[in-house]
Structures are given as structure tokens and as C-alpha cells.
Subunit: 203 residues, 2 copies
DNA sequence: CCAGACTGATTGATATGTCAATCTATTTTT
DNA sequence: AAAAATAGATTGACATATCAATCAGTCTGG
């Protein structure tokens, strides 16, 4: 199956340009030029700039949801699930850096994406993660004195911070860095950052 | 003597419009209308839309840096410093929700802000926080087997996640929620999310 | 021969930044 | 104290540029 399908070429070009210049500063002419096709052909396949962008983002959400659903119903050890979630982001960044970059810079918190539909996507994302956290509490692995959505925020926030640093610095992930990142997030999220002997006074 | 000059009125109006519509979708005409001044007056005080935006963002960075420098040199207990950093974000959100919203949606990760100068601002932000973390390790409060910038990412990532949820949901912070959020972040960041009896197998 | 792939010039809407003119307040001159 | 001069605030129409989207037409494989 040869991949000289112009439609795919246009999507790939759009991924690059959207990452380089951001949605607002991307010209349809830029995408056509980078794809090596005429201006009009982009509109032949995608009715508007917004639709083209949505096609890309929708693909991201699909993968993310699928991964979270898989982890939710899998019967791996709980800690393994958390590791897999982190791994997903790091692997995806290695494999499709443009896609992750767009998610971080144009979707994750950008006002551009704050429609009702955009918000719903986020709620699903958080809700699926919260299911996993709630399960961790249920099986007695995670502490119950902190609400599952709090755990979700902290866990996802930490992951996003790492990915953001990579995206903004256009850094690469090798095997060793991936291990160290997963280990760091897991260690701190599960065991905490303070030395164990150190007691925590009440707030 | 009420300080009611038009310049401030324009900045306040810009804060509102930038938050509501995002930088890209904000028209200078919108700002003028919301401020109740003529279109031209905005340009009388601010030479361009970008300059107006920068004035706002610069003010944010100034406050943030000041707070971090204060905490770095203060001699409070280490945990208190972390609490104060979280508190800063929550108080600022309560006091200037528009400013925090713009930071999250238009600055924090938005490609709009990814100039060399923008990146430098972030490096300073992270670096100041890292100083605090390194001190926590030095005084023996934080574990040393995880690099200080890792601790920084996780800590700031968690805070940003909480603020983002408030911003996107336009939620309010009352005293009780503030306490609970600080407690949640501190508890998990310092002591971890797993139940204490649960041993952590090696990765 | 025709359906769908493909082209790129053209259009039309939109928004930035300019500018000449007017108004208002303060200071200077007579 | 009135008049004149000056500086700065304020106005909104407009010139200009920028793009998204359209469209009339050409090419090509089956």
C-alpha cells in the first residue's frame, strides 16, 4: 500500500505547519506549499482550515481515549497502569512529536480550543483518568483521604509538565531519558518528594 | 484622587477581552468598545496590539518572579515555602482571575508566546523554582535521588493543572477549597499518593 | 467521455494601524 | 482676570494589507 495519497500528505504537512507557526499564524497557502500541492486542493479535501485542524486533533483524542480505556479494563498491577499512561505520552512524543506539540500548545490550554465541544473532550480525558485513580483507591493501593480527581490533576499535571518542557525545548527522548522520567514521576507521585524519615506536620 | 485615567481603563478592558476571546480573536475595536473609549485612543497609549498584550503579561511575570525570590531568600520552614507558592497562585486567581486565565490559556503553553524572549521568561520561572527545590534537598527535607528540576516539573505541573481546571471551568475559590487544594498538593507531592504500608517495587 | 483530481487567480470580508481634525485643560502672556 | 498659546487627550473614518474560501477551468485514468 503506497502512501502517495495527497490527502494524507496534506494532513502531514498541516501537522508540521501547525506545530511550527501555531494555528492562528498558519496560512492555508503554507500548508499547500509544504505539501507540494496547489492551494485549491487543500479545499478539495477539507472544507475549511478549522475542519483540517479538527481532523488532526480528533485523531489525537481517539488514541488517548483508547489507551485510557484499555488501561481501565486491563488487569495489570495498578502501578503498571500508571507507568503505561506515562509511557503512552512519551512514546507518542517520540513517534509523533508534531501531534504532541499541537496538543500542548494549541489544544491543552489554548483559548482557541475552548468551545463547548472542546471542553467536553477534556472532561472525558479527565474522567477516564479518574476512573483509573478511583480503582487504585478501591483496591487499596492509593490513599483514600484525597479525592480521586485531586489525584488525577496532580498526576496529569506532572505528565503535562514534562511533555511541555520537551515540546518547548524541542528535545528528544532516548530510552534512558524515558526510563528516568517514568521513574521520577512514579516515585514522586506514589512515594512523595520528602525524605522518608521526615514527618509532615499538619497544615 | 481617584486614579481613573483612561490608560488603566484600557488595560482592564484588554484583560477582559483577551480572556474572553483569546489573543487571536480579540479585535482592538472590542477593547475600545469595552473600555468605552474611541478606537484611536487605544493606539494613542499602546503602539500595537502586541505591545498592549506584553504590558499585561510583563506585569504577571514581575509578580511571579518577586514572589519566588521572596520565598527563596526567606527563612520560613521549607514546607511553608511550598505552601506559599501554591497559595500565591490561588490568591492571584481569586484576585485577578483574568490575569491568571490569560497566563494559562495564552502564555503558559500557547505557541503565540513562543518567541526567544518568551522562552527566557519560562526558564527564569523554572529556574527560580528549582532553586527552592535544591534548597529543600540541601537542608535534608527533600529526597536527593531525584533531580531538582524533576521535582520542579512535578510540583509546578500539579499547580498548573489545578489552576487550569479552575480557569477552564470559570470556577470560584472559597477559603475552604483553597485549604483543600493546598493540602492535597502538599500531601501528594511530599508524602505520595499510595497508602503508606504499600511497598513500591523497583521499576 | 466523464468523474473526480487538481490548479491558481480572484474575490470578499475583516481587522490593523494611520491620520487629520476636534476638544479640554493647563500655562503663559498681556 | 481675560485672552492667547500650548500640549495632550480623544475621535472615527479610511487606506492598506492579509487571508480564507470560491470558482471557472484543465488534466487524467478507467
Amino acid at each position: 500500500m503506497v502512501k502517495n495519497n495527497k490527502q494524507e500528505i496534506i494532513v502531514d504537512a498541516a501537522l508540521e505547519v501547525f506545530r511550527d507557526k501555531g494555528y492562528a499564524n498558519t496560512r492555508m497557502a503554507d500548508i499547500a506549499r509544504r505539501a507540494g500541492v496547489s492551494y485549491g486542493l487543500v479545499y478539495h479535501y477539507f472544507e475549511s482550515k478549522e475542519v483540517l485542524f479538527d481532523v488532526i486533533v480528533e485523531g489525537w483524542w481517539d488514541r488517548l481515549y483508547q489507551m485510557l480505556k484499555d488501561e481501565r479494563q486491563s488487569d495489570s498491577a495498578f502501578q503498571k497502569k500508571l507507568e503505561n499512561i506515562i509511557k503512552f505520552f512519551l512514546d507518542m512524543y517520540a513517534e509523533k512529536p508534531n501531534l504532541l506539540s499541537i496538543f500542548i500548545t494549541e489544544v491543552s490550554r489554548s483559548s482557541v480550543y475552548h468551545t463547548a465541544r472542546g471542553l467536553a473532550k477534556f472532561r472525558t480525558f479527565f474522567s477516564l483518568t479518574e476512573d483509573v485513580m478511583a480503582e487504585g483507591q478501591k483496591v487499596g493501593f492509593l490513599r483514600r483521604d484525597i479525592g480521586p480527581h485531586y489525584l488525577t490533576y496532580i498526576f496529569l499535571g506532572a505528565i503535562e509538565a514534562f511533555i511541555s518542557v520537551m515540546v518547548l525545548g524541542k528535545e528528544a527522548v532516548n530510552r534512558e531519558r524515558k526510563e528516568r522520567t517514568i521513574n521520577g514521576v512514579i516515585q514522586v507521585f506514589l512515594c512523595g518528594a520528602k525524605v522518608e524519615s521526615n514527618p509532615l506536620p499538619a497544615l
